[in-house]
Protein backbone atom coordinates (compact mmCIF):
# COMPACT_ATOMS: atom_id res chain seq x y z
CA UNK A 1 0.00 0.00 0.00
CA UNK A 2 1.29 3.44 -0.84
CA UNK A 3 1.58 6.19 1.70
CA UNK A 4 0.24 9.62 0.73
CA UNK A 5 2.54 12.65 0.84
CA UNK A 6 2.33 14.62 4.04
CA UNK A 7 0.83 17.49 2.03
CA UNK A 8 -2.08 15.15 1.18
CA UNK A 9 -2.71 14.75 4.89
CA UNK A 10 -2.74 18.48 5.57
CA UNK A 11 -5.95 20.22 6.65
CA UNK A 12 -6.12 23.97 7.37
CA UNK A 13 -5.76 24.78 11.05
CA UNK A 14 -4.50 21.38 12.24
CA UNK A 15 -1.59 21.62 14.62
CA UNK A 16 0.81 18.97 15.93
CA UNK A 17 2.65 20.84 18.66
CA UNK A 18 2.40 24.03 20.64
CA UNK A 19 5.67 25.89 20.55
CA UNK A 20 7.19 26.72 23.94
CA UNK A 21 7.37 30.33 25.03
CA UNK A 22 10.39 32.15 23.65
CA UNK A 23 13.07 32.43 26.36
CA UNK A 24 15.06 35.21 24.70
CA UNK A 25 13.91 38.66 23.59
CA UNK A 26 12.46 38.44 20.07
CA UNK A 27 14.38 40.26 17.37
CA UNK A 28 12.17 41.27 14.47
CA UNK A 29 13.48 40.69 10.94
CA UNK A 30 14.13 43.80 8.86
CA UNK A 31 11.19 45.04 6.83
CA UNK A 32 10.62 43.14 3.65
CA UNK A 33 12.56 40.05 4.67
CA UNK A 34 9.83 38.24 6.59
CA UNK A 35 7.50 36.25 4.35
CA UNK A 36 3.78 36.43 4.95
CA UNK A 37 2.81 32.97 3.71
CA UNK A 38 4.60 29.64 3.82
CA UNK A 39 3.16 26.49 2.30
CA UNK A 40 3.82 23.94 5.05
CA UNK A 41 1.59 20.94 5.83
CA UNK A 42 -0.81 21.34 8.75
CA UNK A 43 -1.09 17.98 10.46
CA UNK A 44 -1.95 16.66 13.94
CA UNK A 45 0.71 14.85 15.94
CA UNK A 46 -0.70 11.30 15.69
CA UNK A 47 -1.02 11.62 11.92
CA UNK A 48 2.63 12.71 11.75
CA UNK A 49 3.76 9.78 13.91
CA UNK A 50 1.79 7.26 11.84
CA UNK A 51 2.93 8.78 8.55
CA UNK A 52 6.62 8.57 9.32
CA UNK A 53 6.35 5.19 11.05
CA UNK A 54 4.68 3.79 7.95
CA UNK A 55 7.32 5.36 5.70
CA UNK A 56 10.06 3.81 7.81
CA UNK A 57 8.37 0.43 7.42
CA UNK A 58 8.38 0.78 3.64
CA UNK A 59 12.11 1.42 3.71
CA UNK A 60 14.88 -1.18 3.58
CA UNK A 61 17.62 -0.26 6.01
CA UNK A 62 20.31 -1.80 8.17
CA UNK A 63 17.90 -1.95 11.12
CA UNK A 64 15.60 -4.29 9.22
CA UNK A 65 17.76 -6.17 6.74
CA UNK A 66 21.30 -7.01 5.66
CA UNK A 67 22.52 -4.22 3.41
CA UNK A 68 25.49 -5.61 1.41
CA UNK A 69 26.11 -2.42 -0.54
CA UNK A 70 29.70 -2.86 -1.68
CA UNK A 71 32.08 0.04 -1.03
CA UNK A 72 29.54 1.72 1.27
CA UNK A 73 30.11 -0.39 4.42
CA UNK A 74 26.54 -0.38 5.66
CA UNK A 75 27.30 -1.74 9.08
CA UNK A 76 25.41 -1.53 12.30
CA UNK A 77 25.62 1.74 14.20
CA UNK A 78 25.80 0.72 17.87
CA UNK A 79 23.11 2.48 19.90
CA UNK A 80 25.65 3.64 22.47
CA UNK A 81 26.92 6.01 19.75
CA UNK A 82 23.51 7.66 19.73
CA UNK A 83 23.47 7.97 23.50
CA UNK A 84 26.86 9.67 23.40
CA UNK A 85 25.91 12.05 20.59
CA UNK A 86 22.83 13.16 22.52
CA UNK A 87 24.63 14.03 25.76
CA UNK A 88 23.50 17.61 26.39
CA UNK A 89 27.04 18.90 26.97
CA UNK A 90 27.95 17.81 23.44
CA UNK A 91 24.62 18.11 21.63
CA UNK A 92 23.71 21.56 22.96
CA UNK A 93 27.10 23.22 22.48
CA UNK A 94 27.02 26.08 20.00
CA UNK A 95 29.85 26.29 17.45
CA UNK A 96 30.31 30.01 18.16
CA UNK A 97 30.73 29.48 21.90
CA UNK A 98 33.95 30.69 23.48
CA UNK A 99 36.43 27.77 23.34
CA UNK A 100 36.95 28.24 27.10
CA UNK A 101 33.37 27.02 27.64
CA UNK A 102 33.59 23.90 25.43
CA UNK A 103 36.85 22.36 26.61
CA UNK A 104 35.19 18.93 26.80
CA UNK A 105 34.19 19.02 23.14
CA UNK A 106 37.69 20.16 22.19
CA UNK A 107 39.24 17.38 24.29
CA UNK A 108 37.08 14.87 22.40
CA UNK A 109 38.14 16.28 19.03
CA UNK A 110 41.79 16.33 20.06
CA UNK A 111 41.65 12.69 21.16
CA UNK A 112 39.97 11.70 17.90
CA UNK A 113 42.65 13.55 15.88
CA UNK A 114 45.34 11.67 17.82
CA UNK A 115 43.65 8.27 17.48
CA UNK A 116 43.01 8.63 13.77
CA UNK A 117 46.65 9.68 13.26
CA UNK A 118 47.75 6.61 15.22
CA UNK A 119 45.40 4.24 13.37
CA UNK A 120 46.52 5.55 9.96
CA UNK A 121 50.19 6.11 10.74
CA UNK A 122 50.11 9.86 10.08
CA UNK A 123 51.70 12.96 11.58
CA UNK A 124 48.57 15.13 11.57
CA UNK A 125 44.80 14.95 11.14
CA UNK A 126 42.09 17.49 10.35
CA UNK A 127 38.52 16.63 11.25
CA UNK A 128 36.99 19.31 9.03
CA UNK A 129 35.91 17.57 5.80
CA UNK A 130 32.18 16.91 5.84
CA UNK A 131 32.32 13.60 3.95
CA UNK A 132 34.57 11.34 1.93
CA UNK A 133 34.48 13.31 -1.31
CA UNK A 134 35.30 16.53 0.52
CA UNK A 135 38.14 14.69 2.26
CA UNK A 136 39.44 13.76 -1.18
CA UNK A 137 39.28 17.36 -2.39
CA UNK A 138 41.03 18.47 0.80
CA UNK A 139 43.80 15.95 0.19
CA UNK A 140 44.29 16.90 -3.44
CA UNK A 141 44.31 20.62 -2.67
CA UNK A 142 47.02 20.01 -0.06
CA UNK A 143 49.10 18.00 -2.55
CA UNK A 144 48.80 20.83 -5.05
CA UNK A 145 49.64 23.43 -2.41
CA UNK A 146 52.73 21.41 -1.41
CA UNK A 147 54.14 21.45 -4.97
CA UNK A 148 53.31 25.11 -5.54
CA UNK A 149 54.89 26.05 -2.20
CA UNK A 150 58.14 24.51 -3.42
CA UNK A 151 57.93 26.49 -6.66
CA UNK A 152 57.19 23.29 -8.59
CA UNK A 153 54.55 24.67 -10.94
CA UNK A 154 54.54 22.25 -13.86
CA UNK A 155 52.75 19.40 -12.07
CA UNK A 156 49.21 19.18 -13.47
CA UNK A 157 48.44 15.46 -13.76
CA UNK A 158 46.80 13.08 -11.32
CA UNK A 159 47.34 9.36 -11.90
CA UNK A 160 44.30 7.23 -10.99
CA UNK A 161 44.04 3.44 -11.35
CA UNK A 162 40.85 2.18 -13.00
CA UNK A 163 40.13 0.22 -9.80
CA UNK A 164 39.87 3.44 -7.77
CA UNK A 165 36.68 4.87 -6.40
CA UNK A 166 34.62 6.79 -8.94
CA UNK A 167 34.85 9.94 -6.90
CA UNK A 168 38.66 10.09 -7.32
CA UNK A 169 38.69 11.31 -10.95
CA UNK A 170 35.88 13.73 -10.13
CA UNK A 171 37.92 15.14 -7.25
CA UNK A 172 41.05 15.60 -9.36
CA UNK A 173 38.98 17.33 -12.04
CA UNK A 174 37.42 19.61 -9.47
CA UNK A 175 40.90 20.57 -8.26
CA UNK A 176 41.74 21.59 -11.83
CA UNK A 177 44.04 18.66 -12.57
CA UNK A 178 44.22 16.40 -15.59
CA UNK A 179 43.23 12.79 -14.86
CA UNK A 180 45.40 10.01 -16.30
CA UNK A 181 43.97 6.51 -15.91
CA UNK A 182 46.23 3.57 -15.00
CA UNK A 183 45.09 0.09 -16.11
CA UNK A 184 44.84 -2.94 -13.83
CA UNK A 185 46.83 -6.13 -14.31
CA UNK A 186 45.13 -9.55 -14.56
CA UNK A 187 45.22 -10.01 -10.77
CA UNK A 188 43.44 -6.73 -10.17
CA UNK A 189 46.55 -4.80 -9.09
CA UNK A 190 47.85 -1.53 -10.52
CA UNK A 191 49.73 -2.26 -13.74
CA UNK A 192 53.17 -1.36 -12.43
CA UNK A 193 54.88 -1.01 -15.81
CA UNK A 194 52.13 1.26 -17.12
CA UNK A 195 52.45 3.34 -13.95
CA UNK A 196 56.22 3.72 -14.26
CA UNK A 197 56.03 4.98 -17.84
CA UNK A 198 53.61 7.73 -16.73
CA UNK A 199 55.56 8.90 -13.67
CA UNK A 200 57.39 12.11 -14.53
CA UNK A 201 57.82 15.68 -13.32
CA UNK A 202 54.34 16.71 -14.47
CA UNK A 203 52.66 14.39 -11.97
CA UNK A 204 51.05 15.83 -8.84
CA UNK A 205 50.58 12.35 -7.50
CA UNK A 206 48.57 9.15 -7.49
CA UNK A 207 45.14 8.53 -5.98
CA UNK A 208 44.85 4.93 -4.92
CA UNK A 209 42.09 3.02 -3.16
CA UNK A 210 43.56 0.18 -1.12
CA UNK A 211 41.96 -2.28 -0.80
CA UNK A 212 40.60 -1.29 -4.20
CA UNK A 213 37.02 -1.40 -5.48
CA UNK A 214 37.46 -5.08 -6.35
CA UNK A 215 38.02 -5.67 -2.62
CA UNK A 216 41.61 -6.66 -3.36
CA UNK A 217 44.69 -5.55 -1.45
CA UNK A 218 47.25 -4.02 -3.78
CA UNK A 219 49.96 -6.69 -3.88
CA UNK A 220 52.82 -4.35 -4.76
CA UNK A 221 51.65 -1.28 -2.94
CA UNK A 222 55.15 -0.40 -1.73
CA UNK A 223 56.51 -0.47 -5.31
CA UNK A 224 53.58 1.66 -6.46
CA UNK A 225 54.29 4.24 -3.75
CA UNK A 226 58.04 4.16 -4.50
CA UNK A 227 57.44 4.76 -8.23
CA UNK A 228 55.32 7.83 -7.54
CA UNK A 229 57.69 9.22 -4.92
CA UNK A 230 60.64 8.65 -7.28
CA UNK A 231 59.23 11.19 -9.75
CA UNK A 232 58.47 13.71 -7.01
CA UNK A 233 54.76 12.93 -6.79
CA UNK A 234 52.70 12.36 -3.66
CA UNK A 235 50.42 9.43 -2.90
CA UNK A 236 46.81 9.95 -1.94
CA UNK A 237 44.99 7.07 -0.28
CA UNK A 238 41.21 6.77 -0.51
CA UNK A 239 40.42 5.40 2.94
CA UNK A 240 36.89 4.34 2.10
CA UNK A 241 37.92 0.71 2.48
CA UNK A 242 39.84 1.16 5.74
CA UNK A 243 37.43 -1.14 7.55
CA UNK A 244 39.30 -4.08 6.03
CA UNK A 245 42.72 -3.08 7.36
CA UNK A 246 42.33 -1.14 10.62
CA UNK A 247 44.73 -2.60 13.14
CA UNK A 248 46.46 -4.62 10.43
CA UNK A 249 48.40 -2.14 8.31
CA UNK A 250 48.84 1.62 8.51
CA UNK A 251 48.68 3.55 5.23
CA UNK A 252 51.26 6.01 6.59
CA UNK A 253 53.68 3.12 7.10
CA UNK A 254 53.18 2.16 3.44
CA UNK A 255 54.34 5.65 2.44
CA UNK A 256 50.98 7.30 1.77
CA UNK A 257 51.14 11.08 2.13
CA UNK A 258 47.42 11.74 2.58
CA UNK A 259 44.42 9.59 3.40
CA UNK A 260 40.81 10.38 4.13
CA UNK A 261 38.87 8.32 6.61
CA UNK A 262 35.17 7.71 6.16
CA UNK A 263 34.05 7.87 9.76
CA UNK A 264 30.55 6.98 8.57
CA UNK A 265 31.86 3.69 7.18
CA UNK A 266 34.85 2.45 9.12
CA UNK A 267 33.87 3.86 12.48
CA UNK A 268 30.14 3.14 12.21
CA UNK A 269 27.81 6.18 12.68
CA UNK A 270 24.52 6.27 10.76
CA UNK A 271 24.94 6.04 7.03
CA UNK A 272 21.84 4.59 5.42
CA UNK A 273 19.83 7.77 5.71
CA UNK A 274 22.30 9.57 3.52
CA UNK A 275 24.54 10.82 6.24
CA UNK A 276 25.75 13.14 7.41
CA UNK A 277 29.18 11.77 6.67
CA UNK A 278 32.54 12.80 7.95
CA UNK A 279 35.82 12.57 6.05
CA UNK A 280 38.81 13.57 8.20
CA UNK A 281 42.20 13.62 6.48
CA UNK A 282 45.49 12.33 7.84
CA UNK A 283 48.82 13.51 6.40
CA UNK A 284 52.51 12.70 6.53
CA UNK A 285 54.94 15.13 8.14
CA UNK A 286 55.62 17.04 4.92
CA UNK A 287 51.96 18.02 4.58
CA UNK A 288 51.00 18.92 8.16
CA UNK A 289 51.58 22.64 7.53
CA UNK A 290 48.94 22.57 4.78
CA UNK A 291 46.10 20.98 6.76
CA UNK A 292 42.79 22.86 6.70
CA UNK A 293 42.25 24.69 9.95
CA UNK A 294 41.45 25.26 12.60
CA UNK A 295 42.70 22.13 14.34
CA UNK A 296 42.42 21.38 18.03
CA UNK A 297 45.72 21.69 19.91
CA UNK A 298 46.62 20.89 23.49
CA UNK A 299 48.25 24.16 24.39
CA UNK A 300 48.95 23.60 28.03
CA UNK A 301 49.39 20.62 30.28
CA UNK A 302 48.44 21.76 33.75
CA UNK A 303 49.87 18.90 35.73
CA UNK A 304 48.00 15.97 37.22
CA UNK A 305 45.56 17.96 39.29
CA UNK A 306 44.12 20.09 36.49
CA UNK A 307 42.77 19.00 33.10
CA UNK A 308 44.86 20.00 30.06
CA UNK A 309 43.84 23.10 28.16
CA UNK A 310 42.78 23.01 24.50
CA UNK A 311 42.48 25.69 21.87
CA UNK A 312 42.03 26.07 18.11
CA UNK A 313 45.05 26.65 15.84
CA UNK A 314 45.52 27.05 12.10
CA UNK A 315 48.64 25.54 10.48
CA UNK A 316 51.07 28.10 8.93
CA UNK A 317 50.46 27.22 5.24
CA UNK A 318 46.90 25.96 5.69
CA UNK A 319 44.80 25.61 2.54
CA UNK A 320 42.10 27.32 4.63
CA UNK A 321 38.75 26.17 5.82
CA UNK A 322 36.92 23.35 4.08
CA UNK A 323 33.73 23.72 6.06
CA UNK A 324 32.02 26.16 8.36
CA UNK A 325 32.65 25.53 12.05
CA UNK A 326 34.24 22.22 13.10
CA UNK A 327 33.17 19.47 10.72
CA UNK A 328 30.15 17.28 11.35
CA UNK A 329 30.61 17.25 15.09
CA UNK A 330 27.81 14.78 15.89
CA UNK A 331 29.47 12.20 13.68
CA UNK A 332 32.82 12.85 15.36
CA UNK A 333 31.23 12.07 18.71
CA UNK A 334 29.84 8.78 17.39
CA UNK A 335 33.22 7.77 15.94
CA UNK A 336 34.88 8.65 19.24
CA UNK A 337 32.39 6.47 21.09
CA UNK A 338 32.93 3.63 18.63
CA UNK A 339 36.71 3.73 18.98
CA UNK A 340 36.50 3.94 22.78
CA UNK A 341 33.99 1.08 22.96
CA UNK A 342 36.02 -1.21 20.72
CA UNK A 343 39.59 -0.38 21.71
CA UNK A 344 42.57 -1.49 19.61
CA UNK A 345 41.81 -5.20 19.81
CA UNK A 346 38.15 -4.66 19.05
CA UNK A 347 38.90 -2.55 15.98
CA UNK A 348 41.38 -5.12 14.72
CA UNK A 349 38.84 -7.87 15.34
CA UNK A 350 36.22 -5.95 13.35
CA UNK A 351 38.58 -5.85 10.36
CA UNK A 352 39.16 -9.58 10.69
CA UNK A 353 35.45 -10.38 10.79
CA UNK A 354 34.72 -8.04 7.87
CA UNK A 355 37.29 -9.91 5.79
CA UNK A 356 36.18 -13.32 7.05
CA UNK A 357 32.51 -12.62 6.27
CA UNK A 358 33.31 -11.43 2.74
CA UNK A 359 35.45 -14.47 2.03
CA UNK A 360 32.79 -16.77 3.48
CA UNK A 361 30.24 -15.36 1.02
CA UNK A 362 32.75 -15.47 -1.83
CA UNK A 363 33.54 -19.13 -1.21
CA UNK A 364 29.85 -20.04 -0.94
CA UNK A 365 28.93 -18.27 -4.19
CA UNK A 366 31.86 -18.57 -6.58
CA UNK A 367 30.69 -21.84 -8.16
CA UNK A 368 27.47 -20.09 -9.26
CA UNK A 369 28.53 -16.47 -9.83
CA UNK A 370 31.61 -15.77 -11.95
CA UNK A 371 34.41 -14.10 -10.02
CA UNK A 372 36.55 -12.28 -12.60
CA UNK A 373 39.39 -11.68 -10.11
CA UNK A 374 39.58 -14.92 -8.18
CA UNK A 375 41.70 -14.13 -5.14
CA UNK A 376 41.24 -14.08 -1.41
CA UNK A 377 39.44 -10.77 -0.96
CA UNK A 378 39.38 -8.22 1.81
CA UNK A 379 36.05 -6.83 3.02
CA UNK A 380 34.17 -7.07 -0.29
CA UNK A 381 34.24 -8.84 -3.64
CA UNK A 382 32.81 -8.37 -7.11
CA UNK A 383 30.99 -11.01 -9.18
CA UNK A 384 29.41 -10.87 -12.61
CA UNK A 385 25.60 -10.82 -12.48
CA UNK A 386 25.15 -12.46 -15.86
CA UNK A 387 25.31 -15.94 -17.38
CA UNK A 388 25.89 -16.94 -21.01
CA UNK A 389 23.18 -19.60 -20.69
CA UNK A 390 20.61 -17.23 -19.18
CA UNK A 391 20.37 -14.57 -21.88
CA UNK A 392 18.41 -11.47 -21.00
CA UNK A 393 19.07 -11.67 -17.27
CA UNK A 394 21.22 -8.81 -15.97
CA UNK A 395 22.81 -7.73 -12.70
CA UNK A 396 19.94 -5.29 -12.19
CA UNK A 397 17.39 -8.14 -12.30
CA UNK A 398 19.31 -10.06 -9.64
CA UNK A 399 19.50 -6.94 -7.49
CA UNK A 400 15.74 -6.37 -7.77
CA UNK A 401 14.93 -10.02 -7.06
CA UNK A 402 16.98 -9.88 -3.84
CA UNK A 403 14.39 -7.44 -2.50
CA UNK A 404 11.81 -10.24 -2.67
CA UNK A 405 14.08 -12.33 -0.43
CA UNK A 406 14.27 -9.51 2.11
CA UNK A 407 17.75 -8.20 1.30
CA UNK A 408 18.91 -4.81 0.12
CA UNK A 409 20.68 -5.07 -3.23
CA UNK A 410 24.47 -5.04 -3.51
CA UNK A 411 26.12 -2.20 -5.42
CA UNK A 412 25.58 -2.89 -9.10
CA UNK A 413 27.29 -1.78 -12.32
CA UNK A 414 30.29 -0.60 -10.32
CA UNK A 415 33.24 -0.99 -10.60
CA UNK A 416 33.09 -0.45 -14.35
CA UNK A 417 35.99 -2.84 -15.01
CA UNK A 418 33.73 -5.80 -14.24
CA UNK A 419 30.94 -6.66 -16.68
CA UNK A 420 27.49 -6.54 -15.03
CA UNK A 421 29.15 -6.05 -11.65
CA UNK A 422 27.57 -6.99 -8.33
CA UNK A 423 29.74 -5.68 -5.52
CA UNK A 424 29.04 -7.43 -2.23
CA UNK A 425 30.15 -6.23 1.20
CA UNK A 426 28.57 -7.99 4.18
CA UNK A 427 30.51 -6.08 6.89
CA UNK A 428 31.55 -7.61 10.20
CA UNK A 429 28.22 -7.01 11.89
CA UNK A 430 26.24 -9.82 10.22
CA UNK A 431 25.86 -13.22 11.87
CA UNK A 432 26.65 -16.48 10.11
CA UNK A 433 22.92 -17.30 10.01
CA UNK A 434 22.19 -14.08 8.11
CA UNK A 435 25.08 -14.72 5.74
CA UNK A 436 23.72 -18.22 5.08
CA UNK A 437 20.28 -16.83 4.29
CA UNK A 438 21.87 -14.38 1.87
CA UNK A 439 23.82 -17.19 0.17
CA UNK A 440 20.61 -19.22 -0.11
CA UNK A 441 18.81 -16.25 -1.70
CA UNK A 442 21.54 -15.61 -4.26
CA UNK A 443 21.87 -19.30 -5.15
CA UNK A 444 18.09 -19.60 -5.55
CA UNK A 445 18.05 -16.51 -7.76
CA UNK A 446 20.79 -18.03 -9.95
CA UNK A 447 18.53 -21.08 -10.46
CA UNK A 448 15.53 -18.91 -11.20
CA UNK A 449 17.58 -16.96 -13.76
CA UNK A 450 17.89 -20.19 -15.74
CA UNK A 451 14.44 -21.69 -15.13
CA UNK A 452 12.06 -18.73 -14.67
CA UNK A 453 13.90 -15.62 -15.92
CA UNK A 454 10.68 -13.58 -16.08
CA UNK A 455 10.49 -13.82 -12.29
CA UNK A 456 13.68 -11.77 -12.17
CA UNK A 457 12.73 -9.39 -14.99
CA UNK A 458 9.51 -8.40 -13.18
CA UNK A 459 11.00 -8.25 -9.67
CA UNK A 460 10.50 -7.00 -7.05
CA UNK A 461 7.13 -8.66 -6.44
CA UNK A 462 6.81 -8.04 -2.71
CA UNK A 463 7.77 -4.36 -2.53
CA UNK A 464 5.15 -1.59 -2.33
CA UNK A 465 6.00 -0.74 -5.94
CA UNK A 466 7.24 -3.24 -8.49
CA UNK A 467 9.90 -2.43 -11.11
CA UNK A 468 10.14 1.31 -11.64
CA UNK A 469 10.72 2.86 -15.05
CA UNK A 470 14.27 4.14 -14.60
CA UNK A 471 14.43 5.58 -18.10
CA UNK A 472 11.34 7.71 -17.62
CA UNK A 473 12.60 8.74 -14.19
CA UNK A 474 15.93 9.86 -15.64
CA UNK A 475 14.43 11.66 -18.64
CA UNK A 476 11.41 13.34 -17.07
CA UNK A 477 12.65 15.20 -14.05
CA UNK A 478 9.27 15.97 -12.52
CA UNK A 479 9.51 16.49 -8.80
CA UNK A 480 6.17 17.35 -7.35
CA UNK A 481 5.89 17.94 -3.64
CA UNK A 482 2.21 18.60 -3.87
CA UNK A 483 0.02 16.29 -5.93
CA UNK A 484 -2.53 17.90 -8.21
CA UNK A 485 -5.56 16.24 -6.68
CA UNK A 486 -6.01 16.03 -2.91
CA UNK A 487 -7.34 12.67 -1.74
CA UNK A 488 -10.57 12.73 0.22
Amino acid sequence: MLEPLIYDLSRPGRQGVTLPACDVPPTPLPDGLARTTLDLPEVDQLTVVRHFTRLSQLNMGIDTTMYPLGSCTMKYNPRVNETAARLPGLAAAHPLQDPETVQGSLALMFALQEWLADIGGFAGVSLQPAAGAQGELTGVLMMRAYHLDRGDTKRTKMLIPNSAHGTNPATANMAGLEVVEIPSDPRGNVDLEALKTLCDDTVVGLMITNPNTLGLFEEHVEEVVAAVHACGGLVYGDGANMNAIVGKVRPGDLGFDVLHYNLHKTFSTPHGGGGPGSGPVGVSARLTDFLPGPLVARVQDQGETQPPHFSLVTPPKSIGRMKAFWGNFGVLVRAYAYIRANGPDGLRGNSEYAVLNANYLRAKLEDVYKLPYDRVCKHEFVVEGVWADAPGVHALDIAKRLVDYGFHAPTNYFPLIVHEALMIEPTETETRETLDRFVHALRTIAEEAHTQPQLLKDAPHTAPLSRLDEIAAAKQLVLCCRPVALSA
Binding site: P372, E384, Y413, V418, I471, A474
Partner: protein, 129 residues
Protein backbone atom coordinates in the same frame (compact mmCIF):
# COMPACT_ATOMS: atom_id res chain seq x y z
CA UNK B 1 26.98 -7.11 -32.43
CA UNK B 2 26.83 -4.86 -35.47
CA UNK B 3 30.21 -3.54 -36.76
CA UNK B 4 29.88 -1.80 -40.14
CA UNK B 5 32.91 -2.39 -42.32
CA UNK B 6 33.06 1.13 -43.81
CA UNK B 7 33.99 2.78 -40.48
CA UNK B 8 37.06 3.16 -38.27
CA UNK B 9 36.91 2.49 -34.53
CA UNK B 10 38.71 3.85 -31.46
CA UNK B 11 39.61 1.84 -28.36
CA UNK B 12 37.26 4.11 -26.43
CA UNK B 13 34.40 2.78 -28.65
CA UNK B 14 33.75 5.75 -30.92
CA UNK B 15 33.29 5.19 -34.65
CA UNK B 16 34.28 7.67 -37.35
CA UNK B 17 33.14 7.97 -40.96
CA UNK B 18 35.43 10.15 -43.07
CA UNK B 19 34.15 11.76 -46.26
CA UNK B 20 36.82 14.06 -47.65
CA UNK B 21 37.56 16.81 -45.12
CA UNK B 22 34.43 16.07 -43.11
CA UNK B 23 33.85 13.27 -40.63
CA UNK B 24 30.90 11.94 -38.62
CA UNK B 25 31.41 10.47 -35.14
CA UNK B 26 29.24 8.29 -32.92
CA UNK B 27 29.54 5.43 -30.45
CA UNK B 28 29.54 1.78 -31.46
CA UNK B 29 26.83 -0.83 -31.07
CA UNK B 30 29.04 -2.51 -28.47
CA UNK B 31 29.23 0.74 -26.47
CA UNK B 32 25.50 1.47 -26.56
CA UNK B 33 24.75 -2.11 -25.49
CA UNK B 34 27.24 -1.91 -22.62
CA UNK B 35 25.82 1.42 -21.45
CA UNK B 36 22.21 0.18 -21.79
CA UNK B 37 19.33 2.69 -21.99
CA UNK B 38 20.74 6.11 -22.82
CA UNK B 39 18.84 8.98 -21.23
CA UNK B 40 20.97 12.03 -21.95
CA UNK B 41 23.63 13.08 -24.44
CA UNK B 42 25.79 16.12 -23.76
CA UNK B 43 27.17 17.58 -26.99
CA UNK B 44 29.54 20.48 -27.72
CA UNK B 45 28.77 23.82 -29.37
CA UNK B 46 29.17 24.07 -33.12
CA UNK B 47 32.55 25.71 -33.73
CA UNK B 48 34.32 24.05 -30.81
CA UNK B 49 37.74 22.62 -31.68
CA UNK B 50 39.41 19.56 -30.21
CA UNK B 51 42.69 17.78 -30.61
CA UNK B 52 42.71 14.02 -31.09
CA UNK B 53 41.86 12.13 -27.91
CA UNK B 54 40.08 15.03 -26.17
CA UNK B 55 36.63 14.48 -24.69
CA UNK B 56 33.95 16.41 -26.61
CA UNK B 57 30.85 15.35 -24.72
CA UNK B 58 29.29 12.60 -22.68
CA UNK B 59 26.64 9.93 -22.91
CA UNK B 60 24.56 9.11 -19.86
CA UNK B 61 22.59 5.91 -19.39
CA UNK B 62 20.60 4.57 -16.47
CA UNK B 63 23.80 2.76 -15.43
CA UNK B 64 26.66 5.16 -16.03
CA UNK B 65 27.92 8.34 -17.60
CA UNK B 66 30.77 8.07 -20.11
CA UNK B 67 32.84 10.74 -21.80
CA UNK B 68 33.16 10.48 -25.57
CA UNK B 69 36.49 11.28 -27.20
CA UNK B 70 37.29 12.69 -30.60
CA UNK B 71 39.48 10.11 -32.39
CA UNK B 72 41.00 12.81 -34.63
CA UNK B 73 41.54 16.55 -34.45
CA UNK B 74 38.65 18.66 -35.70
CA UNK B 75 36.21 21.54 -35.46
CA UNK B 76 32.57 20.74 -34.81
CA UNK B 77 30.36 21.72 -37.76
CA UNK B 78 27.12 20.06 -36.65
CA UNK B 79 25.71 18.23 -33.64
CA UNK B 80 22.81 15.78 -33.72
CA UNK B 81 20.05 18.02 -32.32
CA UNK B 82 17.56 15.14 -32.38
CA UNK B 83 19.35 13.54 -29.43
CA UNK B 84 18.12 16.34 -27.17
CA UNK B 85 14.60 14.94 -27.22
CA UNK B 86 15.32 11.36 -28.29
CA UNK B 87 18.67 10.21 -26.88
CA UNK B 88 17.45 6.62 -27.30
CA UNK B 89 18.36 6.95 -31.00
CA UNK B 90 21.92 6.13 -29.89
CA UNK B 91 20.59 2.77 -28.69
CA UNK B 92 18.32 2.01 -31.62
CA UNK B 93 20.54 3.22 -34.47
CA UNK B 94 24.08 3.95 -33.22
CA UNK B 95 25.61 4.08 -36.70
CA UNK B 96 22.78 6.04 -38.33
CA UNK B 97 20.28 8.37 -36.71
CA UNK B 98 22.21 8.12 -33.42
CA UNK B 99 25.34 9.92 -34.69
CA UNK B 100 26.80 12.50 -32.30
CA UNK B 101 28.80 15.19 -34.16
CA UNK B 102 30.12 16.13 -37.57
CA UNK B 103 33.53 17.78 -37.77
CA UNK B 104 35.86 19.51 -40.15
CA UNK B 105 39.13 17.57 -39.92
CA UNK B 106 42.13 19.53 -38.67
CA UNK B 107 44.35 16.57 -37.84
CA UNK B 108 43.67 13.37 -39.78
CA UNK B 109 46.94 11.66 -38.87
CA UNK B 110 45.46 9.65 -35.95
CA UNK B 111 43.15 7.88 -38.44
CA UNK B 112 46.02 5.55 -39.26
CA UNK B 113 46.06 4.31 -35.67
CA UNK B 114 42.34 3.44 -35.53
CA UNK B 115 40.92 -0.07 -35.93
CA UNK B 116 39.00 -1.44 -38.88
CA UNK B 117 35.86 -3.52 -38.35
CA UNK B 118 37.71 -6.83 -38.04
CA UNK B 119 40.24 -5.48 -35.56
CA UNK B 120 37.50 -3.80 -33.49
CA UNK B 121 35.42 -6.99 -33.41
CA UNK B 122 38.44 -8.88 -32.10
CA UNK B 123 39.17 -6.07 -29.61
CA UNK B 124 35.63 -6.27 -28.18
CA UNK B 125 35.73 -10.06 -28.00
CA UNK B 126 38.98 -9.91 -26.06
CA UNK B 127 37.65 -7.69 -23.30
CA UNK B 128 37.03 -9.21 -19.91
CA UNK B 129 33.53 -10.66 -19.89
Amino acid sequence: MNVPTDLKYAKSDEWIRVEGEVATIGISDYAQDALSDIVYVDLPQVGASYTAGQPFGSVESVKAQSDVYLPVGGTVTAVNEALGQTPELVNSDPFGAGWLVKIQLTDAAPLAGLMDAAAYTAFCAGRAH
